[in-house]
């Protein structure tokens, strides 16, 4: 077995250690983390303002800030456009990006495989099979049920994969293989269902499968915020365990980590984070795969800083992708799942190239 890249890079000079004075709490960060996080946060803020100001009805950036703060602007419509239409969708994109990115970082950390993404836990295929299958077989399908079906399908798939991979303990390789097996079964079923539907329904289903934040509401934003508020802090707390798991099962066990417990909790977190994005916006691919890679190139492999950075990268990626999906073929728009890959892939290729030199 070759040594995972993250381990090879591990002993690196220059750490920033933060200790709480009273509590037994400390965080060790790569030296690059503070600067990178600050830069990302500033860029993200700029992207947010730019995104809210852009649209068929253009609003000056300063007016955007005023409207968000609830202040009067030159035009009474600003408040409605900003707070009613654009802000919920853009905030949702931001949070979806953050959730997918964190989910991807966890699953790549647990499986120690660079190709892993939340889809490996069957999130997308489980949700997709249930939703598209429901469209296919229900006499009069009710779109209001889609989010619930998606949630059930996503979590059920993750549960089944974990259960099947369990044999006197879990193993990351079994998890990967079974995840891939079930995901391709799901993919085949979905394409079969698509051939059975009427063209209109099939296309609706296809757009849903691609992922879209069109017509998002504040209630979705609140739902998402609630989930993130619970799951993200838990993930950060377990960052150190991810570092240990990343050393391999044998080493992790001998270091005294409660391997199975931590792995189960982390898989649950990863599945939960990805599942909630599927319920609010459909299956958005790529962000969960690429954000951790980008973050790793920026701040190295130690998970405390990596997770923080990944979440920002994922959020930024989806905010920019959302802006692009409204812009490229305006006044029409592309599903955000499409633009995410079109923007993220070239940047990642550039990073790959830069590091190779």
């Amino acid at each position: 077995m070759s040594i995972p890249e993250s381990v090879k890079e591990f002993p690196r000079p220059g750490w920033v250690v933060l200790r709480a004075r009273r509590l037994t709490l400390s965080v060790r960060l790569d030296r690059r983390v503070p600067a990178v996080v600050l830069t990302l946060a500033l860029v993200l803020l700029a992207a947010l303002v730019l995104s809210v100001s852009y649209g068929e009805y253009k609003i000056a950036p300063l007016d955007v800030l005023r409207a968000v703060a609830g202040m009067e602007t030159s035009d009474p419509n600003h408040l409605l456009v900003v707070r009613g239409f654009r802000l919920p969708r853009i905030l949702l994109a931001l949070m979806i990006g953050a959730a997918l990115a964190a989910s991807g970082a966890i699953i790549q950390g647990i499986t120690r495989n660079d190709l892993a993404d939340p889809g490996l836990l069957g999130i997308n295929s489980g949700a997709g099979v249930l939703v598209v299958g429901y469209l296919t077989f229900a006499a009069r399908p009710n779109p209001a049920l889609f989010p619930w079906l998606a949630l059930v399908g996503a979590l059920a798939a993750a549960g089944v994969i974990y259960a099947l991979a369990w044999k006197r303990g879990s193993s990351s390789l079994r998890l990967i293989l079974i995840g891939v097996g079930l995901a391709s079964l799901g993919g085949a079923l979905i394409s079969y269902f698509l051939t059975k539907l009427t063209l209109f329904n099939a296309q609706q289903a296809y757009v849903w499968l691609t992922g879209s934040v069109y017509g998002s509401t504040w209630s979705e934003v609140r739902l998402m915020l609630l989930w993130l508020g619970v799951l993200l802090p838990l993930t950060f707390l377990l960052a150190r365990q991810l570092n240990v798991l990343n050393l391999g099962d044998d080493l992790a066990t001998s270091l005294g980590t409660r391997l199975e417990l931590h792995r189960l909790v982390l898989i649950g977190l990863s599945a939960g984070l990805a599942a909630i994005t599927v319920t609010v916006a459909g299956a958005i691919g790529f962000a969960g795969f690429v954000s951790p890679h980008i973050a790793r190139r920026l701040v190295g492999p130690s998970h405390e800083g990596l997770l923080l950075c990944t979440v920002l990268v994922g959020g930024l990626l989806l905010v920019v992708a959302d802006l692009a999906s409204r812009w490229v073929i305006a006044p029409n728009e592309l599903p955000i799942g499409v633009t995410t890959a079109i923007i993220g892939a070239p940047y990642f290729a550039y990073l790959l190239y830069k590091r190779g030199r």
């Binding site: 077995m1 070759s2 995972p4 890249e5 120690r112 495989n113 660079d114 190709l115 099947l164 991979a165 044999k167 193993s171 390789l173 079994r174 990967i176 293989l177 079974i178 097996g181 079930l182 391709s184 079964l185 993919g187 085949a188 079923l189 394409s191 079969y192 698509l194 051939t195 063209l199 099939a202 296309q203 296809y206 757009v207 691609t210 691919g285 790529f286 795969f289 690429v290 890679h293 073929i329 029409n332 592309l334 599903p335 799942g337 499409v338 633009t339 995410t340 890959a341 079109i342 993220g344 892939a345 070239p346 990642f348 290729a349 790959l352 190239y353 830069k354 590091r355 190779g356 030199r357």
Partner: protein, 344 residues
């Protein structure tokens, strides 16, 4: 990146290597029997003796003979070809990239083929089956060249990790454009959704004769490279240390993957699972020597596709379940069983 643990498993089902040729022979005989049985089954069942007669003593005046010769024979040959092609392509990919998740999809080949086909349908409207084939294989070729170029920039050349990442990125990038076309143009979407499933229905002699040589060259080339692939699968450093020109072998093997996977996609659309599952199954049987893995994979892949296609024609008569879907139904449980019981 991890090496496939299945291949590291020293226990294999067929112990002494003297038994390996015998096993291969038995498997090949089984495959031929399976092909004959597959031809006997369909919308109307035809007795197996009639099948044999239709092949060896063809009588054009008999209706059953006509069906066998013009419809069922090309179809089972097409099935065997894509099975063998995809399985061998998958085995090569897993050997070269040392990643158990690798399959032709990972080099971006399926995505490239699909993009070319979708773009073609979008620009040209409807296409004959052969048109799909030509587009698919050129898309696959272009994809592999781009991925290879992308994966070998910078120091160190085309390492497995860089190639794999480049492949995944390329696949996602092109799929995004494919999706964009499909979302925006309902006419293209309507045609493509039937192609995407992966089906052997209506595949006749024309496509078999066009793609047959391509797949055959790919299979032959793969067998000739099998020794070098075994060496590379032990690790880049070991292969270099043994004096192998790894870059050349890699490039040649990639060409074989394009021919095999591209030809298969051209015949039946993007059929998954064979390329992923079969190599894992085969490694359990015959260890980690690609001189045996590749021929076993070819035979086993052909058997799996034949079985899936036959079942697809039987279970819901007179309707057909596309082979791509049946493969997932047959392959997934088996693959999961394998992962559960054979992986530490």
């Amino acid at each position: 990146m991890q090496a496939p643990a299945v291949s590291r498993n020293r226990t294999r089902l067929i112990g002494p290597s003297a038994l390996l040729p015998v096993g291969l022979l038995v498997a090949a005989v089984l495959l031929v029997a399976g092909l004959a049985a597959s031809m006997a089954v369909g919308a109307a069942n035809i007795h197996i003796s009639t099948v044999v007669e239709a092949i060896f003593r063809y009588d054009a005046s008999l209706f059953d003979h006509l069906i066998i010769r013009t419809v069922r024979l090309p179809r089972v040959i097409a099935g065997a070809m894509i099975g063998a092609g995809l399985a061998v392509a998958g085995a090569i990919m897993q050997g070269l990239t040392a990643n158990p998740l690798a399959s032709p999809g990972v080099l971006g080949i399926n995505a490239g083929a699909a993009f070319a086909v979708v773009l073609g349908v979008y620009l040209l409207g409807g296409l004959p089956l052969l048109g799909y084939g030509i587009l698919a294989i050129s898309g696959a070729g272009a994809a592999a060249v781009i991925v290879y170029a992308l994966g070998s920039v910078g120091r160190g050349g085309a390492t497995p990790v860089k190639l794999t990442l480049a492949g995944v990125i390329f696949a996602m990038f092109t799929s995004a454009f494919t999706t964009a076309i499909l979302v925006l143009d309902s006419n293209t979407f309507d045609q493509i959704r039937f192609w995407t499933v992966g089906s052997l229905a209506g595949r006749g002699w024309d496509i078999v004769l066009w793609m047959g040589p391509i797949v055959a060259v790919g299979l032959l080339g793969a067998m000739l490279l099998s020794r070098q692939i075994t060496t590379i699968s032990l690790g880049q450093d070991i292969a270099k240390g043994l004096g192998q020109n790894t870059a050349l072998v890699r490039a040649l093997a990639a060409v074989m993957v394009i021919l095999l996977a591209g030809g298969s996609v051209a015949i039946a659309g993007p059929v998954g699972f064979v390329g992923l599952v079969i190599p894992h199954v085969v490694r359990v049987v015959c260890g980690m020597d690609y001189r045996w893995i590749l021929p076993y994979a070819a035979v086993a892949g052909a058997m799996l596709v034949t079985l899936a296609d036959t079942l697809g024609r039987v279970v819901q008569r007179p309707q057909e379940i596309p082979v791509g879907v049946m493969l997932a139904f047959v392959g997934a449980p088996f693959f999961i069983y394998l992962a559960r019981w054979r992986v530490r």
